[in-house]
């Protein structure tokens, strides 16, 4: 294997989707070397997926549109060969796992491509076993793919890509729905494929923090163009402000490092925990007080009380919740975390009555959810679902936002007032008369949030606000939630993004196998790495760093970059 040989050459690549005036990708020139680990990052809608689809001929052969320029992959011009020819040498794992289930059972979905490529049965069995082991799916081979949790589905898609052992493996946000340790495991496997088998890797991700040590090169895309490209360290150090501005999630240690370097406290910007440890452990510390916002919670009677909750899904019977007891108070910001399939969504769906307890009770604002309809409970608990497109159906944004208040019997004036308030809060007033289906994904996400906010619920549940979103959009959504929280609304967020949870929640419930493993403040939770590990979680990068630096005088419960800067006595404004 030679890292000098180009396996992919893109020349002046531009692509327009049908009936669009703006190109999805514009004038891209890029060569990928054999055995290279290339990371592509950028905000949502930057053209990353479109670019990936051009590399193995899916564009122009399967996806319609107008392609200009050339892509030559392993010596084959993508215009001249059918897409299936590339499938023999280029594997691709797409972002949406459900669109990758072609047979419906885990085992068959994983080996589908191998069967098409006439692979002998014995070889298929070997590769299946290997892929199942790597993706922690052993024992799942006969399960129906669509019945798996989001993370498990993603593992099936990854396993299907891995079994091909192609020369080039393209992974388009393959770990967005995985728990943190799941992400690390998949990425280290990808690295192993790269190092051991010389496989060329092209990985699209928002999580540079996790791949920075693996990547040979990083490409930053925005608005269809490459805005930065090069060795990861160089790109990150030189373009950090630009990257942050366009919505790329910068590693926390690098964010802190930028400030420290500016003040001359450290010579370089660290990119990973080890580098940060080396640099930060040498600092002479003046002990500072970390400023944390005071949280005022009325603890008289809980807004949600869960008493010995059990829930079993029928056919086949699967117990998803086993004896949970908890109380949530008005004004709290509660993060619910846990590994894939730990019962997080099942638990919160009890709060608005979408699921009724098999045993036990859920009391919401004094009402037993068993005796109330979802409609009745929707005045108390609003639920923002993961996929905004499942919630939108009206002709205009205004109609969409007023749908909930109308169902709840708000008067015309009240409906208008709450609708305008929600539109204003989420910056949607200007697009109020537009069709929501034609808005960008980030805007549609905001429409979904506004349509729930307009119902003025006492509790707002936000399910996985980061999935398929860039960091900037995710933080904007959480910023709006914080505004509501300041007005007294209780916020409950389910997420796999520990950084987001640590940054925005004041209480964290850790779940594992349908039980509550830990329930405490964000500080308590994230200073318990051993318990988190039990459920395949790990603290945010900055917290892990502070824990590592404990012997050097650092507190072990720093949750955010601002807290670290506070502690180091640096003004982050």
């Amino acid at each position: 294997m030679s890292k000098d040989k180009d396996v992919i050459t893109c020349q002046n690549l531009t692509f327009f989707y049908p009936k669009t005036e703006k190109p999805a990708i514009c004038d891209i020139n890029l060569n990928v070397k054999e055995g290279e680990f290339l990371v592509i990052t950028g905000p949502s809608g930057a053209g990353k997926t479109t670019f990936c689809l051009t590399l193995n001929g899916l564009i122009p052969h399967v996806t319609a549109g107008s392609l200009m320029g050339n892509v030559v992959t392993l010596g084959m011009n993508t215009r001249e060969y059918p897409a299936y020819e590339f499938s023999k040498v280029v594997g691709i794992v797409l972002q949406d796992p459900e669109s990758q289930f072609l047979v419906g059972t885990v085992k068959y979905d994983i080996v589908y491509a191998l069967e098409n490529l006439l692979t002998p049965r014995e070889e298929m069995l070997k590769r299946l076993e290997w892929a199942l082991k790597i993706t922690r799916l052993e024992g799942f081979e006969d399960r129906l793919s669509y019945r798996l949790s989001g993370g498990q589905k993603q593992r099936v898609a990854i396993a299907a890509g891995l079994t091909l052992t192609p020369k080039i493996l393209i992974l388009d946000e393959p770990t967005s729905e995985l728990d943190p340790i799941g992400k690390t495991e998949v990425l280290s496997t990808v690295k192993e494929l790269n190092e051991k088998y010389g496989m060329t890797i092209i990985l699209v991700t928002h999580e540079i923090e996790q791949v920075i040590d693996y990547a040979d090169r990083i490409v930053v895309m925005d608005k269809g163009q490459i805005v930065a490209e090069g060795e990861p360290r160089k790109v990150l150090i030189e373009q950090i402000d630009k990257m942050r501005d366009i919505g790329v999630k910068i590693p926390q240690v690098a964010e802190v490092g930028v400030f420290l370097k500016k003040t001359g406290m450290i010579p370089n910007i660290p990119l990973n925990i080890q580098e940060a440890f080396t640099l930060f452990s040498d600092l002479k510390l003046e002990t500072k007080q970390i400023s944390r916002k005071a949280v005022s919670i009325i603890q008289e009677s809980p807004i949600i009380e869960v008493k010995d909750l059990w829930f079993t899904y029928p056919e086949p019977p699967v117990t998803a919740i086993s004896g949970i007891n908890l109380k949530i108070y008005q004004g709290e910001r509660v993060g619910v975390i846990g590994q894939n399939g730990s019962g997080k969504t099942t638990l919160v769906k009890h709060f608005n009555g979408l699921l009724k307890p098999t045993k036990g009770q859920v009391i919401v604002d004094g009402i037993d959810t068993k005796n109330a309809t979802v409609g009745e409970l929707s005045t108390k608990v609003g639920y923002v679902f993961q996929n905004p497109d499942h919630q939108i159906f009206s002709n205009t944004v205004r109609e969409e936002v007023s749908f909930g208040p109308k169902n709840l019997g708000f008067s015309k004036e009240e409906m208008e007032r709450s609708c305008n308030m929600a539109l204003k809060m989420l910056g949607l007033t200007e697009v109020a008369d537009e069709n929501p289906f034609f808005l960008s994904k980030g805007e549609r996400e905001r429409v979904a949030l506004a349509s729930v906010m307009a119902m003025k619920p006492k509790v707002l549940i936000v399910d996985e606000p980061t999935t398929g979103q860039d960091w900037k959009t995710s933080m904007e959504i959480m910023g709006e939630c914080e505004k509501l929280n300041a007005m007294g609304t209780t916020i409950i967020t389910i997420s796999h993004d520990m950084r987001l949870i640590a940054q925005t929640m004041n209480r964290v419930i850790v779940m594992a196998q349908g039980r509550v493993l830990l329930d405490g403040s964000a500080k308590e939770t994230f200073s318990n790495p051993d318990i988190l590990k039990e459920t395949f979680l790990e603290p945010p990068q900055i917290t892990m760093l502070s824990q590592k630096l404990r012997d050097y005088g650092y507190p072990n419960d720093i949750l955010t970059t601002n807290e670290m800067l506070d502690f180091l006595g640096i003004d982050s404004t």
Binding site: S87, L94, S99, F101, L114, P316, L354, T379, F393
Partner: protein
């Protein structure tokens, strides 16, 4: 999570059973035997044992949950009842048992042969439906693909069918999450009148269509990237080699068919057939 209506789309029963373990070829031979018997003979002496054998297999040899079987029988009972009653009402041959002679309507009568024929066609329809159900309950998508290949249908076309079936539960879960999202915003389908329900369907159809279009654009990407159509044939991860029990079933099926044809039509027809 089990979805409402998922029992209909989840036809295959994942279980270990004598019938599950047969190869697709053996199942095809058994199915063809049942089809031929049902279509060649309109005779209780043949149809009753054939139907009884299918019911025994269905209830005792495929290890299916009783609820699934009773649900399925409930599902087919209504159309089959109409089918059977139709024969009772519209058969003209036989001895008349009841007669209607209104001035404006005088061609309606019920005969004894109408009853007999209705029983016979009902049994024929049950044999065709239940034998097909037994095969579908015990054969996964891969097996179906292999089975279609036996009938000369290329994997490329067979895959289109299996992909469509595989997508049904996904679409069902999309519909469920759309309904959940609407319920969570206070929209109660159960409280609406029929007219409002019909109008409300737009609220369900729009996002469903949106998702369906999305899947329709994404699935070809997956298919092409998974070497769909790279070669004319395909290999299978499951072992479809015929074993002793397969040979035994095939021999029994062929012997049953030959004996039934001889008993029913004599050697002459058999000679014409073969």
């Amino acid at each position: 999570m089990a979805l409402p209506g998922s029992r209909i789309v989840e036809v295959y029963i994942h279980a270990q059973s004598p019938f599950h373990s047969l190869t697709p070829l053996t199942k095809v031979v058994w199915l063809l035997t049942m089809y031929i018997v049902a279509l060649l003979f309109l005779d209780f002496r043949v149809l009753i044992p054939a139907l009884a054998s299918i019911l025994i297999i269905m209830f005792f040899l495929i290890n299916a949950p009783r609820k699934k079987l009773t649900d399925f029988l409930k599902l087919i009972s209504l159309p089959f009842s109409f089918y059977s009653i139709g024969y009772v009402l519209f058969t003209r041959e036989g001895n008349i048992l009841a007669y209607v002679d209104w001035p404006w309507y005088h061609w309606f009568w019920i005969t004894d042969w109408g009853f007999i024929l209705s029983g016979l066609v009902l049994m024929r329809a049950l044999i065709l439906t239940l034998s097909t159900a037994v095969v579908l309950f015990t054969t996964n998508m891969e097996g179906i693909l292999k089975g279609l290949e036996i009938f000369g249908i290329k994997p490329k076309f067979g895959s289109t069918l299996t992909i469509t079936i595989a997508l049904l539960p996904t679409m069902l879960s999309v519909i469920l999450s759309i309904l959940e999202a609407q319920k969570a915003r206070g929209f109660g389908w159960e409280k609406l009148s029929i007219i409002k329900k019909a109008r409300g369907l737009v609220k369900l159809l729009l996002p469903t269509m949106f998702s369906a279009i999305r899947y329709a654009t994404l699935i070809p990407l997956t298919m092409e990237s998974r070497a769909f159509g790279a070669y004319k044939g395909r290999t299978y991860i499951d072992d479809y080699t015929l074993r002793t029990k397969d040979h035994a079933v095939i021999v029994i099926c062929i012997a049953t068919l030959v004996i039934t044809v001889i008993l029913g039509y004599g050697f002459k027809l058999l000679l014409t057939l073969f």
